[in-house]
């Protein structure tokens, strides 16, 4: 290590950060690939089918076959499309989904950038994901893509507010914007995690997370039965695959955030002997996996929301609920019962 450090000299911080970024993005991309496989398998079994089982042992090579297929396909740029923005849109969608991982802690020490305003950074970066959707719809020069992008953008903007207020509750409970401190504030077993004192916010965050990533039952942006496939209808080949990657990367990101903010991060389920021998990293992965399973479960269970119902739920139910709970948490913190919210 010291030899490497002397070799790269003043560029050492740069090299080190680059290595960290690769160490996060590469497993994330593999995770995305196998999340698509898991989705098809889980939904398959829920619908009493088998799911992919031809490529490799029990279909385990299916994601790789899909990736190769998409790479070989031609990227068609429609006539009248704005070429530069058309190509830029997928990049703008996936960049925030990856950039947000910079501040996600995997264990008390294992974090790429342990910044103080980590929670704010996450909110700012994830709020930029909507640009990719809007630009994709506009640059395609197609009415279906445009309608899909309008729906999707309105939905993302509405649910972002509720998500932000839910995170305000976490901020109040933990007295910190630093994600490592937030997890440390939930030290202990399942009853010390923030999902219990902030239960309404936990529910709102989970559901708003599903809406934010445009997943079923909130996938009116895609709405196959109404507007073909939404904002990415004109995309093909790898450009479409990048949108696909971004959607799944966002799902993993939201799951990781839910695990860190509300489900105790790397803290074991119960702080007793056999359970706290398991390393914290494994606990975090288990929790992320659990939330991801919920995403797939929702998709297999619920029918799609109507558009006005989505807007009503976001503005008239979620935002008031979180606002009231912010006041409740604030009031409880001034009483002798403050230990309830830590």
């Amino acid at each position: 290590m010291a030899y490497l450090q002397s070799l790269s000299g003043m560029y050492w911080p740069l090299v080190w950060s680059l290595a960290g970024i690769i160490a996060i993005v590469l497993p994330l991309m593999i995770g995305v690939a196998y999340l698509t496989y898991a989705e098809r398998k889980v939904i398959g079994y829920m619908q009493v089918r088998i799911g992919p089982n031809r490529v490799g042992y029990k279909g385990l090579l299916q994601p790789i076959a899909d990736a190769v297929k998409l790479l070989m396909k031609e990227i068609v740029i429609p006539t009248g499309a704005n070429k530069f923005l058309f190509v830029l849109a997928p990049v703008l969608t996936i960049a925030p989904a990856l950039a947000a991982w910079a501040v996600i802690p995997f264990s008390p020490q294992l974090v790429l950038a342990n910044v103080d305003a980590g929670l704010l950074y996450i909110m700012a970066i994830t709020s930029m994901g909507v640009y990719g959707v809007i630009i994709a719809g506009w640059a395609s020069n197609s009415k279906y893509a445009f309608l899909g992008s309008l729906r999707s953008a309105a939905q993302i903007v509405s649910y972002e507010i509720a998500m932000g207020f839910a995170l305000v509750g976490v901020l109040m409970a933990s007295h910190s914007l630093n994600l490592v401190d937030i997890v440390n504030g939930q030290h202990g077993g399942i009853f010390n995690w923030y999902w219990l004192p902030l239960f309404p916010m936990f529910v709102v965050y989970l559901i708003a997370g599903v809406a934010e990533t445009n997943r079923a039952p909130f996938d009116v942006a895609e709405g196959e039965s109404e507007i073909v496939a939404g904002f990415h209808v004109e995309y093909s080949g790898m450009a479409f695959a990048v949108f696909f990657l971004a959607e799944y990367a966002n799902m993993i990101l939201i799951s990781a955030l839910t695990a860190i903010m509300f489900l105790g991060g790397w803290n074991p389920l119960f702080d007793v002997a056999p359970l706290n021998w398991i390393p914290g990293f494994v606990w975090l992965m288990l929790k992320i996996g659990f939330v991801l399973f919920l995403f797939l479960w929702f998709r297999a269970t619920f029918p799609r929301y109507r558009y006005d119902q989505i807007m009503r739920l976001g503005w008239k139910v979620f935002i008031p609920v979180t606002l009231v709970w912010v006041v409740v948490v604030g009031a409880v913190m001034q009483t002798p019962l403050a230990f309830l919210v830590h």
Partner: protein, 205 residues
């Protein structure tokens, strides 16, 4: 030139370029996107001043919310550039007067006499545990609590006024009442008709 100066000039160059493109580009959607780039570079410059709360809030509020709505509206407009340029020369004298006044005022403020390094020194580097967010919150809710709350009330009044002005109720709009939809029972929607199971004899061969 150290690293921080290089970062400053990098962001400033992008900021000036994108600011210039906002007013020169012909396509309004491009102009809005250049404005987004300008906000982003400005936030980068604020980060070099250790004002991370303001920098991230700029991205969160302006890039994440305001410009999205702006783009939303601009995208749906069918703007004819030639129509917009029609009155260009008639507005020119007034516009140039306003622009000159702005330049004079800014040069007074930003001039070296009142804005140099000896008047406004570079911020002292803060110790490791310093939190810009905590410090701002403390100041806003102690020393500046009345101006801050006053600004909040004014904003609230503006929101209420804007909604009151733009809200119109059309008589022929039809609403769904979700509570009624949820409460609906099967027998309000479906009527079971019992029919005798018979087969018309004519189809038999």
């Amino acid at each position: 030139m150290d690293f921080l100066t290089g970062v400053f000039y990098f962001f400033s160059a992008i900021l000036l370029f994108s600011g210039f493109r906002v007013i020169t580009t012909r396509n309004p959607v491009h102009a809005a996107l250049f404005l987004v780039l300008a906000f982003f570079s400005a936030s980068g410059i604020w980060l070099t001043l250790e004002a991370e709360f303001l920098a991230i809030s700029l991205v969160l509020v302006y890039v994440g919310a305001v410009m999205v709505l702006f783009l939303f509206v601009v995208m749906m407009l069918d703007i004819n550039i030639d129509r917009l340029r029609e009155g260009f020369w008639s507005y020119m004298p007034l516009a140039s007067f306003v622009a000159t006044m702005l330049v004079i005022e800014m040069s007074i403020v930003v001039g070296s006499r009142s804005f140099g390094l000896n008047v406004v020194p570079a911020p002292v580097p803060h110790p490791a545990g310093y939190s810009n967010t905590r410090e701002l919150g403390r100041l806003l809710y102690t020393d500046y609590v009345y101006p801050f709350e006053l600004a909040a009330v004014i904003l609230l009044v503006a929101i209420v006024a804007a909604i009151a002005l733009t809200m119109r109720r059309r008589k022929n709009t039809r609403y769904q009442n979700p509570a009624q939809q949820v409460k609906v029972k099967r027998n309000q929607r479906v009527r079971l008709v019992s029919m005798p199971a018979d087969q018309p004899s004519s189809t038999k061969s």
